[in-house]
């Protein structure tokens, strides 16, 4: 092929190169390409002049606009905090029970609560706060450590069996595994515990076991759960008579609990969430519970 040959289809000149049958046209670069190349380079040069851009040894060109992403984000955060300050101050200062009576503030709690709960609590307690096996339902009437606003807020602050210095501490001993009770005694006390919320058991085929279990209970369990099995919010010992179960109320689950013990953990939130956030969570939960009931 000779130089000067033209492509019959386009009429463009060819370069005269050929590789394994592939030829090339010598078509000039279209004008718009130069235009866009110039435009993007110009845009870049202008941007470099205005913004932090080129390194100069230990420093860099700061840009005519004097924009710095660190000061900008600090400013944005401050602005956002200012916007929220109209109500965060009130929530910080006011009593929880007073806020509960303040409709506009409770409106904000209902707005802010779901995202706070979803990002921090839902992993264990579920997006609907109804809990799951091992994680208490937060919308029912049963509270391990008490359900008044101040107490709930305190539980969130220090956690349960957490790393906080003032954390709430509670443990159900492994009565079977640690050989405090023999297998028979465990089975009996399981029957008794179940009978507390299911009175039919006390008169049915298990009546003997329930009666035997009652004595075991009085000797080993009543110290925490109380003579009547109604629990103690001072020790975080659950009420066994109300039909609410954290680890399940079927015979196998109750047996596992008595045999192997339990020691659930809830993290302390004092160092992770602000006081305002913790108060919002408290109020949001109590509000959720009262709506659901």
């Amino acid at each position: 092929m000779s130089v000067g040959e033209r492509d019959p289809h386009t009429g463009h000149a060819m370069t005269g190169h050929e590789w394994n049958g592939i030829k090339e046209l010598n078509t000039p670069v279209p004008k718009p390409v130069w235009f866009f190349l110039t435009a993007t380079v110009l845009f870049s040069v202008v941007y470099w002049v205005l913004m932090p851009a080129w390194p100069l040894g230990v420093t860099y060109t700061k840009g005519l606009l004097g924009i710095d992403q660190r000061t900008r984000v600090a400013g944005d955060l401050e602005k956002a905090a200012m916007k929220r300050a109209t109500w965060t101050g009130k929530i910080e200062d006011m009593d929880l029970s007073t806020i509960q009576a303040d409709a506009p503030l409770m409106q904000i709690v209902r707005e802010a609560g779901p995202a706070l709960f979803g990002d921090n609590c839902a992993v264990c307690h579920g997006t609907d706060a109804r809990g799951g096996k091992g994680y208490p339902n937060l919308t029912d009437t049963a509270w391990l450590w008490g359900g008044d606003p101040e107490t709930v807020a305190e539980t969130i602050r220090v956690g349960i069996n957490a790393s906080h210095d003032e954390t709430r501490v509670s443990q159900m001993p492994a009565l079977g595994r640690d050989q405090i009770l023999d297998r028979n005694a465990v089975l009996n006390v399981v029957s008794y515990v179940q009978s507390l919320s299911d009175s039919a058991l006390a008169t049915g085929g298990q009546a003997d076991a329930v009666a035997a279990g009652k004595e075991v209970f009085a000797d080993n369990c009543a110290a925490c759960h109380g003579e009547d099995g109604r629990g103690s919010i001072d020790m975080g010992a659950p009420n066994l008579t109300d039909g609410f179960w954290i680890y399940g109320g079927d015979r196998q689950s109750v047996f596992s609990t008595v045999w192997g013990g339990r020691q659930g953990t809830m993290p302390a939130w004092e160092s992770r969430l602000t006081l305002v956030d913790r108060k919002i969570l408290t109020l949001y939960l109590l509000d959720l519970g009262s709506v659901r009931q």
Binding site: D7, H9, T10, M14, T15, H17, W19, N20, G21, I22, K23, E24, L25, N26, T27, P28, V29, P30, V33, F36, L37, T40, V41, F43, S44, Y47, W48, M51, P52, A53, W54, P55, Y60, T61, I67, D68, Q69, V73, A80, K83, R84, W87, I108, E111, A112, P114, A115, L116, F117, G118, D119, A122, T127
Partner: protein, 552 residues
């Protein structure tokens, strides 16, 4: 296979295999952790395997002189089969991961099948397994044709191809066992990295030696791109993987970089892996197979030059756009953003050069699914380079970053551009390599094309939707100035799109399976096309002289 090597090459091959097996044995024996020892056994088995392959033809007579009058295509053939194998494997894992994101229980409570392990198996399987093998196979084919010279020896292409696959196997099996140095797209540990350096330098030397033997006055554009791919990937791989092993008998190592320097090195690597592995290499493919299949000259030599130097120069600066609004100093972000914007022009230049090359051949695009694969690939190349430059602009990035939009963008490039140009090129080259009249079934090529296109579109549209919704949900505030949605709210909103994405991926996977079947049937077909094109030969006399000097 071994009987086609010269006697010297057989000796060398045996020596390398035994050395490899011994290194594997030492690693297995001295290894302090089980995964490292397992890798030792794997390397040993691989070495023993290649030793047996060599021994099987060890005492065969010298291969006939006549071979020097032909191109050496056996490694390309094996490479294409391997590429399709990796494609099916990598895309299967990819679709599994996609379903896993929609239905988390699909991890089946096993450590090896957790998301964190499957995800790099998918990315390595498709990028390095499928893409890398396709690049090696086609580069061998293209460099010989466009240089009109046979490869200088017969051992180094096998060393490159098989050694590279050993690296891929080490990488993927390592992830399953929990081995990773936690650098995206550079997960394999130090010993696998060192092995890849040896393989890759051999690749570079092989490419340069072939080019040096060329019988053409000029070096064709495809070779510029292939060479840029090989050279820059070597540099990227070595720098980003600089690390100190905690012991020679353990897999774990610590990077030479820390903090934001580590992040910057990683994304300089990561973005240039996109640039030089997934772009330059596949542009090399495009520049050979598209004009060849279309039977048209390249539209503009000048656009080729401007595109090549623009792409190689601008890409090098763009990596920092992965770290917008982070601890990375803002001036580095500025450079990353502005160079990404300028990069759009040469990228579109390359895409336009490819599409304009089809002038006069559009009727072929309509009728020929193979050429249509390449045409649509060029369109997706244009689309995803535009999207990439757009997403590199800081305010846009503040919405798109960390969302599925990024995932959609990557797959517009990976499925729409990289995989489609590869399938198109493979459908073009398979009949040439195996000397067949055409593919086993043109209808299956057509079916593959539509499955791949529909799959890609479903995938990309699903991720655009989910990414933008995600980004908007994360920045939506209530009247009172608090976040309107929790993270899990956005996750629940993503569910339908995740299902759609997995369905799109399934279409693409089925297409790849059909393609593999079609290729396999073409390879097995017995109807040889005896009319070998006369042009498909190196310059014989010269090739013989040179080959005698170098390999024997």
């Amino acid at each position: 296979m071994a009987s086609l090597l010269t006697k010297n090459e057989r000796q060398l091959a045996l020596g390398i295999s035994i050395l490899l097996a011994l290194v594997g044995l030492a690693m297995a024996g001295a290894g302090d952790d089980r995964a490292y020892a397992a890798h030792g056994i794997l390397i040993m088995v691989f070495g023993v395997g290649t030793a047996f392959l060599t021994i099987s033809g060890y005492h065969a007579p010298e291969p006939p002189e006549g071979r020097l009058a032909q191109y050496y295509d056996d490694p390309s053939k094996v490479g294409i089969v391997l590429a399709m194998g990796w494609a099916v494997f990598g895309m299967f894992i990819g679709d599994w991961v996609a379903w896993l994101l929609a239905y988390p229980e699909m991890t089946f409570d096993a450590a090896w099948s957790s998301f964190g392990r499957l995800r790099p198996v998918h990315t390595t399987g498709v990028i390095f397994g499928f893409g890398g093998n396709a690049l090696i196979a086609t580069s061998f084919h293209v460099m010989q044709r466009t240089s009109r010279a046979r490869m200088p020896d017969q051992l180094s292409p096998w060393f490159v191809l098989l050694g590279y696959n050993l690296f891929c196997i080490l990488a993927v099996s390592g992830y399953f066992m929990g081995l990773t140095q936690s650098k995206e797209y550079a997960e394999p540990e130090w010993y696998a990295d060192i092995w890849l350096v040896i393989v890759w330098v051999t690749y570079l030397v092989l490419y340069l030696r072939t080019l040096a033997r060329r019988q053409e006055p000029h070096i064709y554009v495809a070779n510029w791109y292939y060479l840029a791919f090989i050279l820059v990937v070597a540099v990227l791989h070595i720098v980003n993987n600089l690390a100190m092993p905690i012991s020679l008998t353990q897999a774990k190592s610590y990077s030479a970089f820390a903090g934001v320097q580590d992040a910057m090195t990683q994304w300089w690597y990561g973005h240039n892996a996109v640039a030089f592995f997934l772009t330059a290499g596949f542009l090399g493919m495009l520049y050979y197979y598209l004009p060849k299949r279309a039977g048209r000259p390249i539209y503009s030599y000048r656009m080729s030059i401007l595109g090549f130097w623009g792409i190689t120069f601008f890409y090098m600066w763009a990596g920092s756009h992965h770290l917008h609004y982070t601890a990375l100093p803002q001036w580095v972000q500025t450079l990353g953003m502005t160079f990404s914007v300028m990069l759009l022009v040469p990228s579109w230049l390359a895409a336009a050069n490819a599409l304009l090359t089809l002038n006069g051949a559009w009727h072929k695009v309509r009728d020929d699914a193979t050429l249509r694969f390449m045409m649509v690939a060029a369109l997706f190349y244009g689309l995803s380079t535009f999207e990439g430059s757009f997403m590199a602009i800081r305010p846009v990035n503040s919405l798109s970053h960390y969302t599925d939009w990024t995932v959609g963008h990557v797959h517009a490039g990976a499925l729409g551009w990289v995989a489609l140009i590869t399938f198109g090129s493979i459908y073009a080259v398979v009949p040439w390599l195996w000397k067949r009249q055409g593919m086993y079934s043109a209808k299956l090529v057509e079916a593959h094309f539509w499955l791949a296109l529909v799959g890609t579109l479903i995938y990309v549209f699903a991720m655009w939707n989910s990414g933008i919704i995600q980004g908007l949900m994360w920045r939506t505030y209530n009247e009172s100035g608090t976040l309107a949605y929790s993270f899990i709210d956005s996750l629940i909103a993503m569910h339908p799109y995740y299902v759609a994405r997995a369905i799109g991926g399934l279409f693409f996977l089925i297409g790849a399976v059909i393609g593999s079947y079609n290729i396999w049937m073409t390879v097995r077909a017995t109807r040889e096309d005896s009319r070998e094109p006369i042009a498909d030969r190196p310059v014989p006399a010269v090739a013989r002289d040179r080959a005698l000097q170098s390999g024997e």
